[in-house]
Amino acid sequence: MRFIVCLLLIMLLSFVSSLYFPWWIIGIIAFAVSSFIIQKPYLAFLTGFTALLLLWGGLAWYISSVNHHILAHKISVLVVQQDSPFLLILLTALTGALVAGLASLTGSLMRRLF
């Protein structure tokens, strides 16, 4: 339950704050949520990781679909040296996931200090 609440909270707050702040706000959000809501460190990591995997992966997939993947075909060649919109979406999801996962872990480790 706590996992789900954290997950949804990180997703929601990351989405909203990204409208106004630079991309790294997702790290601050994941850190803040995990330092408020106590979870075991590995679970905190998993929460942040999953939240952004879903958020960035989902957004990228949605944007790319309504674009008929025109851009992803081109950018994937530049970034992953392969014409694969899927790989570019996956890389996007993993990038966000790693940042949020580590930030969540840091948040939960900080909470344990007090």
Partner: protein, 815 residues
């Protein structure tokens, strides 16, 4: 223990974010670049995007509207010039911001700022040629005129209105890839853009290689190798036209021969000139009178040939105000319609190819460049210190000395040839104050021949053949620009720059520029050939083409009852006039009986070829490789010895000499061998090489003309952005062919306009209205262009609203 775990985790997280947010550990900042709400995904435009909008600007004079048709072509309806140009600036920026900003930077020699050291040589070349100096001189003149001041100010305000509204996520993709942000636009940047076009079309000269070659061959031979008038020339103004005697007669310097013709010219080894514009920059245009058309109304056609690129150099639009209704293409970076038509007239351009850039060898006192010897005294130069900022590196400084001729382009610190210490100043017409924007101001509003010639007087450089047709039935063409009146052979070679006697003495008055109105033959045309035959009283050297003009005039002369469809077909005609002239040499000299079986096959192929450069034909590939090899066999021995890398006599010079079987044509002999070679030996040796090349091409399935030519439209950043390019397009044609589509160069806009109650226009260009590679409108027209098809332009009459063709509406409200 817990604090250690926390600190380790904190540091790793911090490092990861720093890494993903910058370029110090990865070539791209993957965090900001891939963030779906900030980065590149934001440039993925929904395929069904709607372009309706309502915008509020305090600088507008009144409300205005933009109607977009299904091809995303805007039809701007405004009540004042100010508002029309403001909106044009806004739309250019909205759809093409990166391109216009990049091109203005390139013109000013500021590419190192964004790509780093690799571009320092490029930037230096621009500074040395005096591009910024030229733009400053133009801007002074343009801002002194109230009409063009308004055009520029409103346009700039429109571009900046868009730039101010930009957020990080909305930045064009190229900024995100290269990691920089746009600067504010300015009138000066528009001037830079105009000067960039001047350079593209007139910023070249073969003076340096010609001088090197003359030192080897002598002036007498140079007259044969580089003749002024080809035997088969069909000039822009028909042969036999009477020209009055020249009213400006320049005096050749007394020392002419000794200093100019006999001097050895340049020191140093191999030439290393800065990159010159593509010699193939040219175009076709023509107009046929009502007497030759089915409708009885004149038809005007134009296809300007440039290096093909995406985003395209052109942006299509219609500009409507109470005193103007102009449709056509504009340059993102400049106000107005550049090639197009209105309700009364149509106009098109081809480059004049005239030489308006000369080099003078000056004597600098010392390396400080502060003084040069001129008219018997040491004279002060004006030093311009150029600061070239370099990405991630300290700035590079370069000092350019300005003389009475112009900037010293090449000197010891930027040598023209290996080890050369020559100081070469450049005299270029584009440096002089001018106001080309005024031409377009008047042309877009012109209603008749009088208005057109009135507009032309403002056009100084680069010179063009400007074709004209009016609804009232006139057709005309003017070879227009301000050209120096030269004494015979002035400016073919580097000139002595120690006194004023070799300078340009005056200019040809506009009335004496070659022109013609309503010819008896019922059409006017130009295709970069020499404008007039040898009876024209001025010396007019240039980098002219020969064959396209012949092909166009022959076709037009034989046509009657012409429809716009016929004209579209003509623009896409793949007939190879050079091959028609040169194939008899091939058939005469190639020894078919001694050839290998493959050789026989290729021989037969060329023998039975239709002479059309169609994509499925293999003969054009074989023939063009053979002719290229033959040229190398004939010329390379002499020209390599002369130290001349990239200058050779034209194909027509070689072909005409060989057809005449001229015994004084000594270049067939290879000077590096003791034997005396014959043309038969050279032709067969060239053919043997050709057979080998053709075999290997055939094995790779690249022998057919379309595959061999491989026409591709690259992104402005070149092969590094290969996914943004369209390669291997199925399109025929080639050099010296009316459909002048080469590998990376060709018709950048095709237009056929029939005047009448409402102008009926058919248009296409190899690109699309959006500069965003993530938009379906980025390369929308390319396949149609390659197939030789056109779109019917929707010409909106003023007051007309809400046609089904108009899909979106953008309202510009005065706020």
């Amino acid at each position: 223990m817990r604090i250690v775990a926390f600190l380790v985790s904190l540091v790793i997280t911090g490092l990861l974010i720093a890494c993903l947010g910058s370029r110090w550990c990865l070539p791209l900042p993957l965090g900001s670049f891939l963030s779906p709400q900030h980065g590149v995904w934001q440039n993925a435009e929904p395929a069904t995007r709607q372009f309706n909008d309502e915008l509020l600007f305090s600088s507008l004079q009144s409300d205005a509207a933009v109607y977009f048709d299904e091809r995303l072509v805007p039809h701007i309806v405004a009540d004042s010039d100010e508002d029309a140009y403001f909106i044009q600036g806004y739309l250019h920026a909205k759809f093409r911001l990166w391109q216009m900003e990049f091109q203005a930077r390139a013109a000013a020699g500021r590419i190192s700022e964004i790509v780093g050291e690799a571009a320092v040589g490029f930037d230096k070349g621009k500074r040395r040629l005096g591009m910024v100096y030229a733009a400053e001189n133009m801007l002074k003149e343009a801002e002194a005129d109230p009409l063009t001041k308004t055009m520029l100010d409103s346009y700039t305000a429109g571009v900046n209105a868009f730039i101010s509204s930009l957020t990080e996520s909305a930045l064009p993709i190229e900024y995100k890839l290269l990691g920089y942000t746009p600067e504010k636009w300015s009138n000066f940047k528009t001037a830079l853009f105009v000067k960039q076009m001047s350079q593209t079309l007139s910023g070249f000269s073969d003076d340096l290689p010609m001088t090197k070659a003359k030192a080897f061959f002598g002036d007498r031979a140079m007259r044969i190798l580089f003749p002024q008038v080809a035997d088969s020339l069909d000039p822009v103004i028909p042969r036999g036209t009477h020209y009055p005697p020249a009213s400006v007669v320049p005096t050749p310097p007394a020392s002419g021969d000794s200093l100019y013709i006999r001097s050895d010219g340049l020191d140093g080894g191999k030439l290393q000139e800065m990159e010159k514009p593509d010699k193939n920059n040219g175009s076709n245009n023509w107009a046929v009178s009502g007497a030759k058309t089915q409708s009885g109304m004149p038809i005007l056609c134009n296809d300007p040939h440039l290096t093909l690129s995406m985003p395209s150099i052109w942006y299509e639009l219609q500009l409507t105000t109470p005193d103007m209704n102009a449709y056509g293409v504009s340059f993102p970076g400049a106000p107005g319609v550049i090639i197009g038509f209105n309700e009364n007239i149509a106009f098109g351009f081809t480059s004049s190819e005239r030489d308006v850039l000369d080099y003078y060898k000056v004597k600098l006192k010392d390396d400080s460049k502060t003084q040069y010897y001129f008219d018997s005294a040491w004279t002060d130069t004006r030093l311009r210190i150029e600061e070239i900022k370099v990405k991630n590196k300290p700035a590079v400084y370069d000092t350019v000395a300005y003389t009475a001729f112009g900037p010293v382009m090449y000197d010891k610190s930027f040598p023209a040839a290996e080890g050369s210490s020559d100081a070469l100043a450049v005299r270029w017409k584009a440096h002089d104050a001018s106001n080309e924007l005024l031409l377009w101001h008047y042309l877009d509003r012109a209603a008749n021949y009088q208005d057109y010639t009135n507009a032309l007087q403002h056009f100084t450089c680069p010179g063009h053949n400007i074709v004209f047709a009016s609804r009232s039935g006139d057709i005309a063409i003017w070879h227009q620009g301000v050209f120096p009146a030269r004494w015979n052979r002035q400016g073919l070679y580097v000139m002595p720059g120690e006194d004023s006697s070799y300078m340009w003495q005056g200019y040809i008055p506009m009335q004496e520029n070659p022109h013609v109105l309503d010819t008896a033959r019922g059409f006017v045309s130009s295709a970069n050939q020499r404008p007039a035959d040898s009876s024209y009283p001025y010396f007019i050297n240039g980098a002219y083409d020969l064959y396209r003009g012949i092909a166009i005039n022959r076709k037009l002369a034989g046509m009657q009852g012409i429809t716009p469809g016929d004209m579209m077909k003509l623009q896409n005609d793949n007939y190879n006039t050079l091959a028609e002239t040169a194939r008899p040499l091939f058939l005469k000299y190639i020894d078919e009986n001694n050839a290998s079986p493959e050789g026989k096959k290729y021989y037969e192929m060329v023998k039975h070829w239709s002479l059309y450069n169609d994509i499925r034909e293999s003969a054009p590939t074989v023939f063009s490789i053979w002719l290229g090899n033959l040229e190398k066999q004939v010329w390379n021995d002499e020209f390599e010895k002369a130290g001349v890398v990239d200058l050779r006599p034209s194909e027509s010079t070689l072909v005409e000499a060989l057809l005449k079987n001229d015994s004084t044509f000594v270049y067939i002999d290879n000077i590096n061998t003791p034997e005396k070679e014959t043309i038969r030996e050279l032709a067969n040796a060239a053919f043997q090489h050709t057979v080998k090349t053709a075999d290997s091409l055939s094995n790779m399935n690249k022998l057919e003309w379309g595959a061999y030519k491989n026409t591709s439209v690259y992104h402005l950043l070149g092969e590094k952005m290969l996914p943004f390019a369209r390669t291997g397009l199925p399109i025929g044609g080639g050099e010296h062919v009316i459909n002048a589509t080469k590998s990376k160069h060709g018709p950048s806009w095709r237009m056929v306009v029939q005047l009448g109650e409402t102008p009926e226009a058919y248009v296409v260009y190899p690109g699309g209205q959006s500069g965003n590679p993530g938009s379906p409108y980025y390369d929308q027209f390319i396949d149609k262009w390659a197939a030789g098809e056109y779109y019917k332009a929707w010409f909106m009459k003023r007051g007309e609203k809400g046609d089904e063709k108009l899909v979106w509406k953008m309202i510009f409200k005065k706020g």
